[in-house]
């Protein structure tokens, strides 16, 4: 089963546009990444720039309107993610527990949709989905 571990740092609610990566934190995270990799569960991971450099597109009345970051009032903003392949939801949660996160961070654990989760009708409609999940090699 694939799960996303979504890292949600409180600091991203007020962070400026600069990427702030203290070396000791990066080293700790790399150790965690390595333990995921050595256990054979890590598929993919990325970190995101602060929301201050992002934008939000809303579709009220189906008309797209753009708000540039930082997003005042916004809560629980994404800082990065891991995609892991594990045996169970419990195992995904257990990996999240082992993350050397700081006390203003939270990890949301979410299961990734698989083709098998879809009805035959949805499977038919989403037949090209996997080609959209990465560049054609």
């Amino acid at each position: 089963m694939r799960f996303m571990l979504l890292m949600i740092p409180k600091s991203y609610e007020t962070a400026g546009p600069e990427l702030d990566l203290p070396l000791d934190r990066v080293a700790e995270m790399m150790q965690f990444n390595e333990s995921l990799q050595q256990a054979g569960v890590l598929l993919y991971c990325e970190g995101l720039h602060p929301p201050a450099t992002g934008a939000r597109v809303h579709f009220k009345s189906k008309v797209p309107t753009v708000t540039d970051g930082p997003f005042a009032e916004a809560k629980e903003l994404l800082g990065g993610f891991w995609m892991i392949d594990v045996r169970s939801r419990e195992e995904a949660i257990e990996w999240a527990r082992r993350c050397p996160a700081s006390d203003d961070e939270m990890i949301e654990v979410r299961r990734v949709q698989e083709m098998d989760d879809y009805t035959p009708e949805v499977q038919q409609l989403t037949a090209g989905f996997e080609t959209m999940q990465g560049k054609k090699p």
Partner: protein
Amino acid sequence: MSAEHSRIATVWKMEAPRLIAALTRKLGDLGLAEDAAQDALVAALEHWPRDGQPEKPGAWLLRAAERKGLDAIRHWSMAARHHVALGREADEAAPTNAPEAAALRSEAEGGLGDDTLRLLFMTCHPALSAESQLALVLKVLAGLSTAEIARAFLQTEATIAQRLVRAKRQLAEAKVPFELPQGSALTARLPAVLHAIYLLFNEGYTATSGSDWLRPALCDEALRLARSVAALLPQQPEAQGLLALLELQAARNAARTAADGTPILLADQDRRRWNRLLIQRGLAALARAEQLGGADGAYALQAAIAAGHARAARFAETDWPHIAACYARLEAVSPSPVVTLNRAVAVSFAEGAAAALPLVQALRATSALAQYHLLPTVEGDLLARLGRPAEAAVAFREAASLTRNTREAALLQQRVAECEAQCAAVPT
């Protein structure tokens, strides 16, 4: 099982390989180590719901297991392995052995990875048969229960239990050391480890029915082990080659069967269903294998063939000359009649049926694949493409008589009928 218990069981499953490894080192016996690890699980089920999960669950489990294991040894007098184990314990404790004790300690502090590897090398020791290796790997490294392993291999629980007991006894009798081979010894022993992972994957991948969820679980476990070994031995080209092969094979999983479970051949698969993330991971691992000088490894070559298919968005776009060349290289490093047959198929697409037919007929002249229905199937196909329907019909009829799969037999009989109709239509 309560949510709390299932969470504890999960933690135990994740920690079990490291736990069993550390205990094997300490107690000198894999069976004792496993028992002690189980005891630690029981202890956790008793304490954690009451006291809360410890901050370092792995360390807690190890302490509990060590206590249980040493207790067990102290109480089991008479057993021969008892003396061995006690002897080791005494050695470790002896003050005269300070440097060795220090070495043991630093070994004990080695990463999770090293322990996993030691355990993997032990369970894949050549003293064991392949089926024993697989059962042991699943038990010890994947944390599957005997019942789960039995279901995965379509065997009775008693058979698997017996197999596990025998395997552990064989390891003890052969005095297989708990160590990570170094240098040339590592190179010599690694193929057995990789082969076991490869077999494990194939057990799951070639499952025909797919009715049991544990068959695909074998693929998942094998893939995890392959990822783990590739991460822990990053300089070993064939570890990367095997990983590449398994990632690329697994990428096709969603496209390999129809909704009703019938298998779909490579040529007919909806390639949009192939998992691009796994393909990318496979191609990256293949590139690493090649960079490490392992392009001609048996796994790397099979991965290169799988990569050739993965790179083609449609069957018609397949780079057959490249794939045929890979098969030729594979035939050179790891000759087998099945590889030759596959090469013939690739050659038939790359250069035409006429170029491939002699390869197949040479195989027919040997008895190697006499019972293998795909050999006359391929021959019949080539003959049909060359406009020789009468001979093709004979080959297809033979193929139909060799297959045990009724659906396949029906398809082959249909081809016989088509060929015979063509014969009738051609004026003589």
